[in-house]
């Protein structure tokens, strides 16, 4: 499916473009440093870097308020920083220190920073999806205009949790934005080995809610799309799905054979 360009997307102003670039750059520097620290044994365990998908994190999280909630997965460092989590406290978490955002008890795959709306991240692929839907339901029950974003990869789409969550989000009309970072890989195998349905948008087509594929490296288009989505969800128009075609430049986890 050809990438859809957002017709008439306003060009990014200079300040906004610089802010997005700054966020992306911070994520990139942070992740490269984490990689080095991993190799020098200061960061341990199972680490998944966001190198290559900084644009999605910056554009999506940059369009959200502090009280909008985000649920992510194992590859959450970029989402955390873009949502406003302090860099030093995220690094401390990766180093297992008590100054970390989770007091050193969660680690890389389970980053939480409730001060900035990062409410959960799960190490089990797709496990965050129904949580995000529940959170969106809470926002709806409260009659608030908060929106909830669920970040996930293309690898999560074939599992039951995705389909069940999509069904209920659609049935109950939840203010939930599904953001799929489709880098064409799930762990160590390409998408074509996982499913015959190449586009994630096509997977949710029967539910007939707003869905779009955008190039994840085209930050202005991404920014325009997510701004429309957030406005729609705040006005009661959820759920919505944004499929971002992006890249994973390192292995699935640091130290694996693909890295």
């Amino acid at each position: 499916m050809a990438a859809a360009q957002t017709a008439g997307a306003p060009a990014l102003g200079r300040d906004e473009a610089l802010a997005l670039l700054r966020t992306m750059w911070r994520i990139r520097c942070f992740e490269e440093r984490v990689g080095k620290m991993y190799r020098s044994l200061q960061v341990h365990g199972l680490i998944h870097l966001s190198i290559g998908s900084e644009g999605v994190a910056a554009a999506v999280c940059g369009a959200l308020r502090a009280d909008d909630h985000v649920y992510s997965g194992h590859r959450a460092h970029g989402h955390a920083l873009a949502k406003g989590a302090p860099m030093d406290r995220v690094m401390a978490e990766l180093m297992g220190r008590s100054a970390g955002v989770c007091r050193g008890l969660g680690g890389s795959m389970h980053l939480v920073d409730t001060d900035h709306g990062l409410m959960g991240a799960t190490g089990v692929v797709g496990g965050n999806l129904p949580l995000a839907a529940g959170d969106a339901l809470a926002a709806k029950l409260r009659d608030s205009d908060q929106v909830t974003v669920a970040f996930f990869g293309d690898g999560a789409v074939q599992a039951g949790h995705f389909h069940e969550t999509v069904n209920l989000a659609s049935l109950w009309e939840l203010p939930l934005i599904f953001v799929c970072e489709n880098n064409g890989f799930a762990e160590f195998t390409p998408r074509s080995a996982h499913t015959k349905v190449q586009s994630v948008c096509d997977v949710v087509a029967p539910y007939d809610f707003e869905r779009r594929t955008v190039p994840g490296q085209d930050v202005p288009t991404l920014r325009g799309a997510i701004a429309e989505y957030v406005a729609a969800a705040r006005a009661g128009g959820g759920p919505l799905l944004l499929e971002c075609l992006t890249h994973r430049r390192r292995g699935h986890y640091e130290g694996d054979a693909q890295g």
Partner: protein, 326 residues
């Protein structure tokens, strides 16, 4: 003021009272109040009382998200086995997030299901699988055996800031018992002494509590006074109450509807063997279901389950008044 009502009514009464008391309590599940005429829907509206499709992972996962975002969901799962469909949410998400976030989020929710319906509902609907949940840090598990406890434990479960697996016993739903009116709470983690005695301690859960009491009557006719203890919660487990009783009687029988290595009996036996060894005058006896899938055939179903005859015999063996069988 107590009055006699059936177990199932006591459970529902607790849910209603908690929903009146606290606006953040929501209740949903498969077949929950399908009609808008249902009293729960009339009282609380469709926002707070919903039917959900057969989607256990989403039902339970959404409860986790609702809880993180400030609500207190009670999810009707009907049968304990249906939680198995969503084990990631039950074991790996709900109970772990509070800890892994360094306490920054909490997950107050109740997973309500029935278990043990050994009335011909066969292999996949009759299990006593509570120990699959009882060993998970962060997850509480309660097994009410009386209508009063059914009410009190549900109220406590709703008010608890942790995820609670609330397992009601399907064979007990029509059992009548005295239940206090109005607000009534039973603390989670506190055992109840159902019958005082000094010769042998019998610990039983759920439906086996009634069997243990019947066994105690049989034993009393033989001059043996059994003390029957109902833990009521499996996690946290009131070991001090059990150890205190074993110290008094010196003999322990553990009755459990679960299969042996998946039983609360095995867990309690290990605890007493380690912490109550000096109290014991005889080896601990376990009376559990046979290690078999529950058969559909009625006599075979009865054969694999514990009953009052087996429990009484185990007590006699513990006391040395019957030959110990292998």
């Amino acid at each position: 003021m107590a009055r006699e009502i059936p177990y199932i009514a006591a459970v529902n009464e607790a849910i209603q009272l908690e929903m009146v008391r606290d606006d953040t309590v929501v209740f949903y599940g498969q077949d929950v109040a399908p009609s808008d005429d249902d009293p729960l829907v009339q009282a609380f509206g469709r926002d707070r009382v919903r039917v959900s499709p057969i989607s256990e992972t989403a039902e339970i996962g959404m409860a986790v998200g609702l809880a993180i975002a400030g609500y207190r969901p009670v999810v009707e799962l009907l049968m304990a086995e249906f939680m198995l469909v969503a084990m990631n949410q039950v074991v790996n998400e709900a109970p772990r997030l509070r800890y892994m976030s360094g306490g920054r989020v909490k997950v107050p929710l109740v997973l309500k299901a029935g278990y043990g319906f050994t009335a011909g509902w066969a292999g996949q609907h009759t299990g006593s699988i509570y120990t699959m949940f009882a060993g998970i840090p962060g997850l509480k598990v309660v097994l009410p055996s009386t209508p009063a406890d059914a009410k009190g434990l549900m109220a406590s479960a709703v008010r608890d800031d942790n995820p609670v697996v609330y397992l009601m016993h399907y064979l007990l739903v029509l059992e009548h018992g005295d239940v206090p009116e109005g607000e009534y709470l039973v603390p989670i983690g506190e055992a109840a002494v159902r019958r005082a005695g000094s010769d042998v301690t019998i610990v039983a859960t759920g439906w086996t509590v009634g069997k243990a009491l019947e066994a105690a009557e049989m034993l009393a006719a033989e001059g043996i006074e059994a003390e029957v203890i109902d833990p009521r919660s499996l996690q946290p487990l009131d070991m001090p109450a059990i150890l205190e009783s074993v110290q008094k009687t010196g003999h322990l029988v553990l009755a459990d509807q679960a299969t042996r290595h998946a039983s609360a009996a095995s867990i309690i036996a290990a605890e007493v063997a380690e912490h109550g060894f000096s109290s014991l005058k005889a080896p601990i006896k376990l009376v559990t279901a046979h290690d078999a899938t529950i058969p559909y055939s009625e006599p075979m179903e009865a054969y694999v389950l514990p009953d009052e005859v087996k429990i009484a015999e185990a007590a006699r063996q513990a006391l040395g008044t019957a030959p110990v069988t292998a």
